[in-house]
């Protein structure tokens, strides 16, 4: 397990401030944050490579605050691999290994054994990342820290490497902390998500909870939520209604009156060409389509409603079926429970 309590560290002008989170034993933690948020610094502090200036760090039940890097039993994989250039691939994999058979098995699982005779200088970026993964795992660490370890791999090899890391994590019960920019990766891999920005933890918890219930509009925006409105809640006929300008949105639950933000994920909104039949969905809007954009496997459709813009996501199949064009009228529907207030 990894437990950071008010962890502090300073590197030049940058500092980690009161970083607190818990990754239980055997869990897979994911650290998400923009460039320069301190993700790599956090991994280096946990590894013991950078000194912490305050707080408490507990690793697998031990107080590791003052423990030397070589005594922490951590496998660290940097994005750039940092393979030893004066050694062969095999020597890199075996560098910290105490059991050659295990090291060879790990190398085989990542397809690195085929590169054994190669010089490190001749490897591609992706191959370097695989060798770095094998090298870190070859000594069977007690904790695994990964800093964007799949970023240079092509999609098929990335999926394979991700599967292998996840499988080893499960087989060994290996507590893992993985830094990534990829929200899909964070969602699919993580048991715990830690959102870091400017050296501070903005939010941490189960990935689904962090994604669905961001604590602040900034977190929501960072996590890719597109419908974020500033306004306030009023109680009308016993029901909570959120107002932002001329936009009125029905809200579920025990919302209290007062200023706040409303967040609706684009994936929660249904689109129709004609006015939908009455349903349990409390929020229905009609508007003109102002933008249609392809984003990976999904399409984003924007409509203008009462001076505000709402974005809905739909699959390519649905987009083809609806055949919407800019200027068309479209109907957006979502349930009151899809509205998150913060």
């Amino acid at each position: 397990m990894i437990s950071a309590a008010a962890l502090r560290a300073r590197v030049g002008a940058f500092s980690l401030e009161d970083v607190s989170f818990d990754v239980p034993g055997g869990a897979y933690g994911v650290v998400i944050g923009p460039t320069g948020s301190g993700k790599t610094t956090l991994l280096e502090v946990i590894s013991g490579l950078l000194p912490q200036t305050g707080g408490l760090l507990t690793l697998n039940g031990r107080d590791a605050t003052r423990e030397a890097a070589d005594a922490r039993g951590i496998g660290l994989v940097y994005q750039l691999g940092f393979l030893f250039p004066h050694l062969s691939v095999e020597q890199n994999v075996m560098y910290g290994a105490t059991d050659a058979a295990l090291a060879n098995t790990i190398a085989r699982r990542f397809g690195v054994d085929a590169l054994y005779a190669r010089s490190v200088r001749s490897l591609s970026g992706g191959e370097r990342q695989l060798v770095a993964l094998a090298r870190a795992l070859a000594r069977r660490p007690g904790l695994l820290l990964l800093d964007e370890p799949f970023s240079a791999l092509d999609p098929p090899r990335r999926a394979a490497a991700r599967r292998e890391v996840r499988a080893i994590h499960r087989e060994w019960g290996l507590t893992t902390l993985h830094v990534t920019h990829d929200f899909a990766e964070a969602g699919s891999l993580g048991d715990v998500a830690v959102l870091l920005d400017a050296g501070r933890v903005l939010q941490s918890g189960e990935p689904a909870d962090v994604f669905r219930h961001p604590k602040t509009p900034y977190v929501a925006e960072f996590l890719g939520a597109e419908n974020i409105f500033a306004g306030g809640v009023t109680i009308e006929d016993g029901a909570a209604v959120f107002h932002s300008g001329r936009l009125a949105i029905h809200v579920a639950g025990a919302a209290t009156a007062g200023p706040c933000h409303a967040i609706i994920r684009a994936e929660e909104i249904l689109i129709a060409r004609t006015s939908p039949a009455p349903s349990s969905a409390r929020n229905q809007f009609e508007g003109a389509v102002t933008e249609i954009a392809s984003v990976g496997p999904l399409w984003r459709v924007t409509i203008e409603v009462n001076g505000a813009t709402l974005v809905a996501a739909l699959t390519t199949y649905s987009a083809n079926e609806l055949a919407l064009r800019i200027g068309d009228t479209a109907f957006f529907t979502f349930k009151a429970t899809a509205v998150h207030l913060c």
């Binding site: 280096e44 590894s47 013991g48 490579l49 030397a68 890097a69 070589d70 922490r72 951590i74 496998g75 660290l76 940097y78 940092f82 030893f84 250039p85 004066h86 560098y95 910290g96 200088r121 090298r135 870190a136 000594r139 660490p141």
Partner: protein
Amino acid sequence: MRRSNAIGVGAAAASSLLLLFLVLPVVRLVAAAGPQGAARLWSDAELRQSLALTALTATAATLLAALGGAPLAWLLARRAFRGRALVAAVLDLPLLIPHPVAGIALLLLLGRGSAIGSSLLSLGLRIVGTPLGIIAAMLFVSAPLFVSGAREAFARVDVRLEGVARTLGDSPWRAFRRVTLPLAARGLIASGVVTWARAVSEFGAIVILAYNPKVVSVLAYDRFTGFGLSEALPVAAALVVLSLIPLTALRALRMGDERAVA
């Protein structure tokens, strides 16, 4: 396009003039006295002894520079400590002051009238006028070159490589021995070669501290003042050849580096 060509031609012309100025005197010297210098190696025992003395004292000075300079270079490359800028400035001092002045300063410090000199004398170690004096003078003028080169060699080794080695179970010393040292080795050797070459070519400080026994630079000067240019030329040519040995080694090392990177 035409303008950039003109700039290129102008730069090439200026560079050629400087290169000719640097190379011609040495080529002229070796052409005029090289064969004679080589022949003298057989007939001139004093020149042979002088060459051996120069090579040995330069080697001793280089080893001492490496022994004290490598840890200092590592500290300067890896540790942020108070006074680091001052230490770096102090290291530049021997390179900036005229070398006869350096010799006088060393004489004041290590001469028999000084506290250190008399203490060493009581231990049976005489500095002035001995090979120890030559080594001291060589060390003073050349050690900063070793520290500067070694500092760069250590700085070029990414600190995260050492970090990874630490996470793989290495103690700081073991990570240094298995990762930092092998990766900095070429730079350290190159620094040693430059230090040795500088020590071999030193004259100003040595002539003040230890005119005798004569290293080659002092012998060339001695022959010139005592017997004229014709007697000094073969000795000077021999010194040039001796200086070319480390330069050739350094070039070979750099070519090896370039091949390794390619």
